[in-house]
């Protein structure tokens, strides 16, 4: 998966089985074993990397994360970015477009599956339709005919699915090679690896690795222009990219329409919705809603939507598959230098 061109779709179809059409990403089931993992990691890692921290509530492992961030940035600088620049320079635009369409097409079946799992059969159907059209008329996906026909591409993955089921994000985590995740998304990454056609359709390992590598380089190349903007915009690149990742994930989970934050939230809630996501209590029963400051608020207020829990006892503990199959393409979308 790794590096992927981010994009957003505003999907007008929403899950309808829920009261108000919003699914909540705030429930935090955090099982014991998770907590244990977190504390062990924290203990072993944070203390060994003595970086300055920003004390962000959603980033308790900041020391570790900054170290991983530096590692990824270094990798990007010496290997991935130069490759992407070479690719960008050598391959003409139509070629690049075809490569990126090809890999994009391969994602659609898994996107369809995830839309189905999220209770969005209509979208799942259009995803499947996209795959059929682009794989045939679009010549193995080289041409995105479906988009030309107005069939919208979606972006879904198993992390979003599980989030819609009510599993909270957990702490922010920077993985070596794969880059930013949350604990939830780091675990579901494994499942996404199995759902990747490059993994299950291509048996020949060298070929598969070439495909992973090509996809990585293609994805990295597509965001080269952004490097400079990020470097210029960020006071602290690590924090900037972290917060962007968390915001974007939240946006994706809500299919482009996350609950709106008000000015009052802005004025009183430093962590914003992201902190809310992490700090939501383990067990909120549906009618009792918790505002960002922890105060219960009456149902029906604007804030209600923010913490309606889903089914809390799902998934992550079942994910036990080995990581190495998940996604051979190292990501490190990492750009620039971080870790102050």
């Amino acid at each position: 998966m790794g590096l992927r061109t981010a994009r957003t779709r505003s999907n007008d179809v929403r899950i309808s089985s829920r009261k108000d059409g919003e699914v909540n990403d705030a429930a935090e089931p955090a099982s014991r074993s998770w907590r244990l993992t977190v504390s062990v990691l924290a203990a072993t890692v944070v203390f060994s990397t003595g970086c300055a921290t920003t004390g962000s509530p959603q980033d308790p492992l900041e020391g570790f994360n900054r170290a991983m961030f530096s590692f990824n940035e270094g990798l990007d600088k010496v290997a991935i970015k130069p490759l992407a620049q070479g690719y960008d320079f050598v391959v003409p635009l139509p070629g690049k477009t075809m490569v990126s369409n090809f890999f994009g097409n391969l994602q659609d079946p898994w996107i369809a599956a995830n839309n189905l799992l999220q209770g969005k059969p209509g979208q799942a159907l259009t995803d499947a339709g996209r795959f059929l059209i682009n794989s045939t008329v679009g010549i193995l996906g080289a041409f995105d005919v479906a988009s030309e026909l107005g069939i919208e591409k979606h972006e879904e993955d198993f992390g979003q699915t599980v989030a819609r089921w009510g599993v909270g994000a957990g702490a922010y985590l920077v993985l070596p090679f794969f880059g930013p995740r949350t604990f939830r998304d780091a675990l579901t990454l494994i499942v996404d690896g199995y759902g990747d056609p490059v993994y299950y359709l291509v048996d020949d390992v060298p070929t598969r690795n070439i495909l992973y590598g090509t996809r990585l380089v293609s994805n990295r190349a597509s965001v080269l222009p952004a490097d400079k903007t990020i470097d210029e915009a960020a006071l602290d690149k690590y924090a900037y990219l972290r917060d962007a990742y968390l915001q974007r994930r939240r946006n994706l989970i809500f299919d482009g329409r996350p609950p709106r934050e008000t000015d009052e939230d802005a004025a009183t809630d430093p962590g914003g919705s992201l902190a809310r996501e992490l700090t939501a209590p383990d067990a909120v029963s549906p009618p009792v809603l918790v505002a960002s400051d922890g105060a219960a608020v009456a149902p029906g207020t604007e804030r209600q939507r923010l913490s309606e829990p889903g089914f809390n006892d799902s998934v992550p503990s079942r994910v036990t598959s080995p990581v190495d199959t998940a996604d051979a393409a190292p990501v490190a979308a990492a750009t620039g230098s971080g870790a102050e």
Partner: protein, 212 residues
């Protein structure tokens, strides 16, 4: 990092389309006309295309800035700590934040390459004073990137107070970093950091100019 960053990054690349001509009442018409005006100019301006940041900044200042409410943006970015700042500090913060955003995203304009921007229908009730205008940047071989503009109506004019690119608010994304600065050095510390950042960018730009 993959999924996320990329897109909106590329995004930055074409964020700013807005212009002054627009006196239309409707916020979506405003955003659309400013976007079209700015892109029309960029398409013809070889200087901007070849990376002349100064030119891009001029264009943005002239066409785009009149439609932005930077005080509101800064308040949103600073969050809770805004109240700790006295009016003078608030003014300084607003000025520095404005400089940072303008410089950063004017620069992004220089990498514009014929992407197409589509606007989605805006949902709006007659009395609304707060509206989101949604658009999408399309480019060959890349997924479309959403750019949503939040506008608020004050004293008869609609002003943009937030820009959300691929789900990432270019304003609130600063909140944690700003809070950290304030925790470490107070409001003045944040002002200083922003001043330093802007000075660095300026120096870098000047250097780049000489090399040419």
């Amino acid at each position: 990092m993959g999924k996320l960053l990329l897109g909106w990054l590329a995004v930055a690349s074409m964020l700013l389309p807005f212009s002054v001509s627009a006196q239309e009442n409707a916020p979506d018409a405003l955003v659309k006309s400013v976007t079209n005006d700015v892109l029309a100019i960029v398409r013809q301006d070889k200087e901007i295309q070849s990376g002349n940041t100064k030119r891009a900044i001029e264009l943005v200042e002239q066409k785009v800035l009149p439609h932005f409410d930077f005080a509101h943006m800064t308040r949103l970015a600073v969050g809770r700590d805004w109240r700790k700042a006295d009016p003078q500090q608030q003014a300084a913060l607003t000025q520095e934040f404005k400089n940072l955003l303008v410089r950063t995203y004017s620069n992004a304009l220089t990498s514009y390459k014929n992407q197409v921007i589509d606007f989605r229908p805006t949902r709006m009730q007659p009395g609304d004073t707060d509206v989101t205008v949604r658009s999408e940047v399309k480019q060959p071989g890349a997924r479309p990137i959403s750019i949503d503009y939040s506008l608020e109506k004050n004293s008869e004019a609609w002003k943009v107070y937030d820009v959300v690119v691929a789900g990432v608010s270019l304003v609130t994304n600063y909140r944690e970093s700003f809070a950290t600065e304030v925790r470490n050095g107070g409001i003045d510390g944040l002002i200083k950091s922003l001043q330093k950042k802007n000075a660095d960018l300026e120096a870098k730009a000047a250097q780049g100019g000489e090399r040419k």
